[in-house]
């Protein structure tokens, strides 16, 4: 390539790539840089420590606990979101009276700021006024109000439920779009060939939806791994760190303990875990070529 051509290429692409450098490359590079130094923002010494922040993070019992909490969370939310999204997506593509209204109502949670929905869920689970307590008491399941958010299992359940409630509409919307894009002639051909409704669903629609599932899986896995707002809103990582997911732990280490070096190391570890999972998904879910 001639020098002039190279210059032209860089000039032509730079308006589009500048934001990428500024908003992605630079922050990631900065986080990586900080992960290699001792950097407490309240007394920033800034000495190069190599991989010590990583070693400290990997050896800390806190990281193990937060990874375990994150695994429990991801494993719990992912299949539920996918299955419910498929079911609701299917229902929302049917033609019945009021389907438009149902769609609007169904998508409301997605329109609420996540941190706000976290605050609302905290009140739902409140030990003194929570609606969950009120319902269970009315049904005779409990005899007095319970401090749900003081119990590690119930707190985790509350966070899982809040996340599913928030994430389900978007996943379902993708499924709705996917089902809507199935070619009519494919469905007709399958019916003419004698396929029953379930077979059409399984063989045609689910096959057609595979790329959509790939997106849903990757998107929802990443969202689950980096869950923050709902944890902040409901439990703040408690009780005693039982819902301290890894992304919330990054926040705690970075801003609560003001250790930007260790926080950056944790962020890089989080990105690495996410990348491994993405690659894994891309390899596992092979998209067939439909003819």
């Amino acid at each position: 390539m001639r020098s002039a051509e190279r210059q032209f290429l860089i000039m032509a692409l730079s308006p589009a790539l500048a934001p990428v450098f500024l908003m992605t490359i630079y922050p990631v590079a900065t986080a990586f840089y900080y992960s290699l130094i001792a950097y407490d923002i309240t007394r920033p010494i800034g000495a190069f420590v190599g991989l010590k922040n990583y070693a400290a993070a990997l050896n800390s019992p806190g990281l193990y606990q937060s990874i375990m909490a994150t695994i429990v969370f991801v494993v719990a939310v992912l299949p539920i979101i996918v299955i419910l999204a498929l079911a609701t997506g299917w229902i929302l593509t049917r033609n019945f009276r009021g389907v438009q209204l149902v769609r609007v109502i169904f998508f409301i949670p997605w329109g609420i700021p996540y941190i706000v929905s976290g605050g609302n869920w905290k009140w739902v689970w409140d030990g003194s006024y929570g609606v969950i307590n009120a319902i269970l008491l009315q049904l005779g399941i409990i005899t007095s109000y319970q401090a749900w958010l003081s119990d590690p299992n119930a707190a985790m359940f509350a966070v899982i439920l809040g996340h599913i409630w928030y994430e389900l509409p978007f996943a379902a919307m993708l499924i709705v779009a996917g089902i809507g894009s199935v070619p009519q002639e494919l469905l007709e051909a399958a019916t003419i060939d004698g396929a029953k409704a379930f077979t059409v669903f399984r063989r045609v629609i689910l096959t057609w939806l595979r790329p959509i599932f790939q997106i849903v899986f990757i998107y929802e896995t990443l969202n689950a791994i980096k869950v923050f707002d709902i944890v902040m809103g409901i439990t703040k990582g408690g009780p005693f760190e039982s819902t301290n997911m890894i992304s919330y732990d990054v926040y705690r280490v970075t801003f609560l303990f003001t250790d930007f070096g260790a926080g950056s190391a944790l962020s890089v570890i989080l990105v690495a875990i996410s990348l491994v999972l993405i690659v894994l998904y891309l390899r596992l879910i092979k998209v067939p070529k439909l003819r």
């Binding site: 390539m1 190279r6 860089i10 990428v20 840089y33 007394r43 408690g238 009780p239």
Partner: protein, 515 residues
């Protein structure tokens, strides 16, 4: 029409393949990242600060940001009573306009639960800030980081406020803001002036006590437990005692119990933990709480997540007979518009002296919220600093009719407004003789003598005035020490295990700061 094949051949002929283009762009990205990293590394100071100069470091790390125009002031608060502060700032701006002053204040509010972390990010990034709400739990940390200026260095007359300020809260507004100990010299200057100050109060529901045929509120923990059991047995409350522990009140509530004991402290004069024995005040407090929750079932088991909103609402509706809360809730609890009980029984909510755990000690916990002077502001011109000084005095001190600082003859305009409109007390003794404040007390059924007696018999949180307090406690958030103690309160960890954990954390942090 151009085909894909043609496009490919065109690329090949020009020598600009897609792969090569990606290499070029990727190379540029890496170069930019490396250059950015190198630039950042040049910003780092070469050597760690010595112990004596630790207070300078964080500010030196960041490039001094430009301050705003001299007449534009930036005021940062946490999101509480934002409507009040909007009104207050609007009044100030209106006055400035009326006297043809170009000064204008803009206000930013940040949720209280993330206030410390947001300010750390703000100061770390060098964002222009002039005046900010400061918590007594962050004073020492921000001062040590070099983010907090000392007003006495710029306006020595600020010291004239000192005789009027209540003694218990003074340590948090003096520089250096460090706990009195043998570790630090204490030649103190006045750091700033207060936004408000208050203490923990134990409220009781007179109606419930009357129904239980209890003549007077308890004087000791033993009497408190007996009364609570009696109320529970009569079926008047499921859990007679409520303690507000969530959000910012965790340490205040814990200290309030600890202080009500002979030798009620966490640390000795060298800031070493003294709570690792079953006879310590901290151990006894946790034991009393745990027995109250699980053995006697007289303390509400939801206290770890109990914030003042839920607490005030429940108490105002007769859910508990006793509640440890911020004293400033007293007017609200006795407000007939808030409490249905207050409609039928005016003044049903009484306040008692803090019950004693041992040694007939009734000391409680207090706090102060000072206005922080940002060191970013101190880099501005003298005119800018004068504007910041006047505004700070308008918000927290005495000003004349032009809203200029006037410590000798001015009025506590905003402090009186806080008291009248929100029931928020301040640290100025003289305020309590103002007729408006006395009228506000009478309306809220607050006993002024008892109010002051408990106030003067209170202390700031033990260990709070250390630079590592935020990392240990979490301030408003759930720091590692708080997390360990929550596990104890929730009966998931033994008291001694929890105390060992927090002692070890404390000593490690203390050592990491070179003390």
């Amino acid at each position: 029409m151009t085909t894909v094949k043609e496009n490919r051949s065109s690329e090949a002929s020009s020598g600009v393949s897609r792969r090569k283009a990606i290499y070029i762009i990727g190379g540029a990205a890496v170069a930019a990242a490396v250059a950015g990293g190198a630039y950042l590394s040049m910003q780092q100071p070469p050597a760690p600060p010595s112990q004596t100069t630790a207070v300078q470091t964080a500010t030196e790390m960041t490039t001094a940001p430009p301050t705003g125009p001299v007449d534009q002031l930036q005021f940062t608060i946490w999101s509480w009573a934002v409507d009040f502060q909007q009104y207050s700032v609007a009044e100030y701006n209106k006055k400035m306009k009326a006297i043809n002053s170009p000064v204008n204040v803009t206000m930013l509010d940040i949720p209280q639960e993330v206030y410390r972390e947001s300010l750390i990010a703000r100061f770390g990034a060098g964002t222009p800030t002039d005046v900010f709400y400061n918590d007594d739990g962050t004073v020492s940390e921000f001062y040590a980081a070099g983010w907090l200026g000392t007003w006495e260095d710029y306006h020595p007359e600020v010291r004239d406020y000192l005789p009027d300020i209540l003694d218990p809260v003074k340590p948090a507004i003096m520089a250096p803001p460090l706990q009195e100990s043998t570790l630090w010299e204490t030649g103190k200057k006045m750091l700033t002036i207060p936004y408000y100050s208050n203490y923990k109060a134990v409220f009781y529901n007179k109606q419930i006590l009357e129904k239980a045929q209890i003549d007077a509120p308890p004087n000791t923990w033993d009497e408190w437990l007996d009364q609570a059991l009696k109320i529970k047995q009569k079926g008047l409350c499921e859990y007679p005692i409520n303690i507000i522990l969530a959000v910012w009140q965790f340490w205040e509530s814990l200290d309030n119990f600890v202080f009500a004991n002979k030798d009620g402290k966490f640390f000795d004069k060298d800031l070493n933990p003294i709570f690792l024995s079953e006879s310590s005040a901290v151990y006894r407090t946790l034991k009393w709480w745990i027995d109250g929750i699980y053995k006697y079932k007289v303390i509400d088991p939801t206290i770890v997540n109990m914030d003042d909103t839920a607490g005030d609402l429940g108490f105002a509706n007769g859910k508990w007979a006793y509640m440890l809360d911020a004293q400033y809730s007293h007017p609200l609890l006795n407000d007939p518009g808030f409490s249905p009980i207050a409609k039928e029984y005016p003044g049903y909510c009484g306040m008692m002296r803090n019950p004693s755990g041992s040694g007939d000690v009734h000391t409680g916990a207090c706090w102060i919220r000072p206005y922080g002077l940002s060191t970013v502001a101190t880099k501005g011109t003298k005119e800018h600093m004068d504007n910041v000084w006047n505004f700070t005095n308008y918000e927290g001190g005495r000003v004349n009719d032009r809203y200029e600082a006037d410590i000798k003859n001015g009025k506590l305009i905003t402090a009186v407004r806080w008291m009248q409109l929100k029931g928020i007390p301040t640290a100025y003794k003289s305020l309590y003789s103002e007729p408006e404040v006395q009228a506000a007390f009478a309306k809220a059924h607050v006993d002024p003598d008892l109010f002051m007696e408990q106030y003067l018999d209170s202390k700031l949180k033990d260990g709070m005035l250390t630079p590592w307090w935020g990392k240990w406690s979490g301030v408003y958030g759930i720091g590692p020490a708080r997390s360990a103690l929550e596990a104890v309160i929730l009966n998931r960890k033994s008291i001694m295990d929890g105390l060992n954990d927090i002692a070890s954390l404390w000593q490690n942090l203390k050592a990491s700061y070179g003390y």
